[in-house]
Amino acid sequence: MHTTHEYTPPPLPPPFHHHHQTTPANPPTLLTQGAEAHLYKTHYLSAAHPAALKIRPSKPYRHPILDRRLTRQRILQEARCLAKLVREGVSVPALYAVDWEGQTVTDADTGAERYGGAWLLMEWVEGDVVRVVVREWEGYMLRHFGDDRDVDGHVERKREEDRMKDFLRRIGGAVGKLHAAGVIHGDLTTSNLILRGTNLGVKKEGEGDAVDEGRDGLGHVGLEGEVVLIDFGLAGQSVQDEDRAVDLYVLERAFGSTHPRTEGFFAEVLEGYRASYRGSVSVLKRLEEVRMRGRKKSMLG
């Protein structure tokens, strides 16, 4: 059994280790630390361009040659997808800068030099993730119309549901455009979609319950705005129906497990997908096969 050490995240790679007073750059703020990458909020060129900094740190358990090869491949894969999608007019964060060569960093304690990983700077998309938007909407619906889903003819309720359906069609439309551009996302959950411009004033998970701010005076949850796809860390270029169908399946399951009151409307996502992508027919057929197969993914989440 190996002993436990206190973990400190690795230092930021160059050039982000300069935090001097004369630049407007505040030190990048760490937002999330996944298995693959660390995400920071910072800016690009000047404070006028808020940016997300994604660092793929070196993985010391890997052979250094393999480590560099994988880190480079993956940061480039993501950067290429973003750049391509911007050119194709798909709503994704724009690529600002990328360093795939990786950096040599000096260990503060030992003075030893080692490979510090690669980074990517992209446009910061302001808004709430769809997971939060839908959760808020579901909460609103529950408060206003109770848990009885069979009540018909409630005009306001119907109007709310129509807004949600429109929103879901726009989500499907964004995914359709993505697939039409020949890119698959690879991890299409409601946490990887942002409704641009919204600000529900919702605290991050783990910071307690959502607060009632940021909605309009009536307490409606804003569903208008552009749907932006984010986190292309597992994305790739593919023209296989199977890969596209799996993207949709993952999204469907994300709705199923996270948004029980909205799951029933998932057909609207597929409707929006159909309308925005000409190759949708064979993908949707394939989706049925993927659903049947179900595999172990049905145990996830």
Partner: protein, 359 residues
């Protein structure tokens, strides 16, 4: 309570006897004996021959286990056996032995999932409470985490198991199967230096091994390193490999294969840890003995502020005690396998088992 466990899902037959004290204190291993069917270099084990081996050894091993444990038949509470997954014929020969003992001794049967056996024994030996489990053996490669009375599979191989990949490459190189091909690859890999470029296939939390195997096999053929080898040729190896980009050695190939596939395993394990928010890893299964895999997992876990648990060859290689351990845990919750259902099955997914003994 005392349980006898019989395992024979692959080329090892093992019999173990475990004792769970009534006061709930630490289980005690009373006996753990095993015999391995070893084939000549370059050959794998066939189901029919393996089953014959198991039939020839099972009675001998049961007798020896009882002797080691210093117990008599009347002390035994239940007979646990591997219901699956595994190779059909070897599983059958053990199931028959278990049914025979059940009728002969008048003891109830408990059919055990082999993977759950590994997990429960690993937890018992290491004391890991709620780890992400990497289960790596000749037949299985899975990343597992516990949730609401199931061991759920978060990631797995999409084609062949990691142990199978190593075993098959050992056959390509005609590396000895004694004591185990994986062990001999590991020893050879320690002398390797050069990392060859091999396919690295991770898809989310799943991996694929067939591309790596095909590529490393092709390299072996390309450099004439496949087939039987003589000591003289290998001893001139260092001279050949000296020049950068020159001919790789067998050791280099073993080294490259290990570095590549173990990186894939550690990567999906880390992803699962991040997903479920766990800081503990438990490695089980025959490949779990590999010290390089343990070392890499340890570095990953350390960088996440976590811990890795692994067991030695007594417990990570297939054994009877793990079947006894998992079986007895189920038995204590009232689980029984009636004689008419005491069959075996080649496919038996880890998540099919209701883990009633955990919260």
């Amino acid at each position: 309570m005392i349980a006898v466990g019989i395992e024979g899902s692959a080329n090892k037959i093992g019999v173990g006897i475990i004792f769970h004290p009534e006061d709930g204190s630490t289980p005690q291993v009373l006996a753990n004996v095993r015999h391995t069917y070893v084939t000549p270099p370059g050959e794998g084990f066939l189901p029919k021959d393996t089953a014959r081996h198991h039939r020839a050894w099972v009675v001998k091993l049961v007798k020896q286990a009882l002797q080691d444990a210093r117990i008599t038949v009347k002390d035994v509470d239940c007979i646990c056996y591997t219901k699956g997954p595994g190779m059909g014929a070897p599983l059958q020969s053990c199931a028959i032995a278990a049914r025979m003992l059940s009728l002969l001794w008048g003891k109830e049967l408990v059919g055990v999932n082999h993977c759950v056996g590994h997990i429960e024994m690993g937890r018992a030996i290491t004391g890991a409470q709620n780890p992400v489990v990497l289960y790596v053996s000749g037949g299985n490669t899975q990343v597992i985490a516990y949730s609401s009375q199931r061991y759920r599979i978060f990631g797995e191989t999409l084609d062949i198991a990691v142990g199978n990949c190593l075993d098959r490459f050992a056959r390509t190189l005609h590396i000895s199967n004694d004591p185990a091909p994986g062990y001999n690859i590991e020893q050879l890999a320690k002398k390797g230096k050069r990392l060859m470029d091999l396919p690295y296939t991770v898809k989310g939390m799943d991996i694929s091994m067939s591309g790596v195997l095909a590529a490393i096999d092709a390299l072996a053929v390309q450099y004439g390193l496949n087939g039987e080898w003589n000591e003289k040729e290998e001893s001139t190896g260092p001279a050949l490999e000296a020049a950068d980009g020159g001919k790789p050695t067998r050791a280099d190939l073993c080294f490259s294969l290990q570095e590549t596939v173990y990186s894939m395993l550690v990567e999906i394990t880390e992803r699962a840890m991040a997903h479920v928010g766990s800081k503990e890893v438990l490695i089980v299964g025959g490949v779990g003995c590999n010290e390089r895999l343990q070392e890499m997992m340890g570095i990953m876990a350390r960088d996440r502020g976590g811990t890795v648990h692994a067991t030695d060859e007594r417990y990570c290689i297939d054994n009877g005690i793990m079947i006894a351990q998992a079986g007895l845990m189920a038995y204590k919750t009232g689980f029984r396998t009636p004689l008419k259902d005491a069959t075996c099955t080649q496919r038996f997914r880890t998540d099919e088992v209701l883990v009633k003994w955990r919260d």
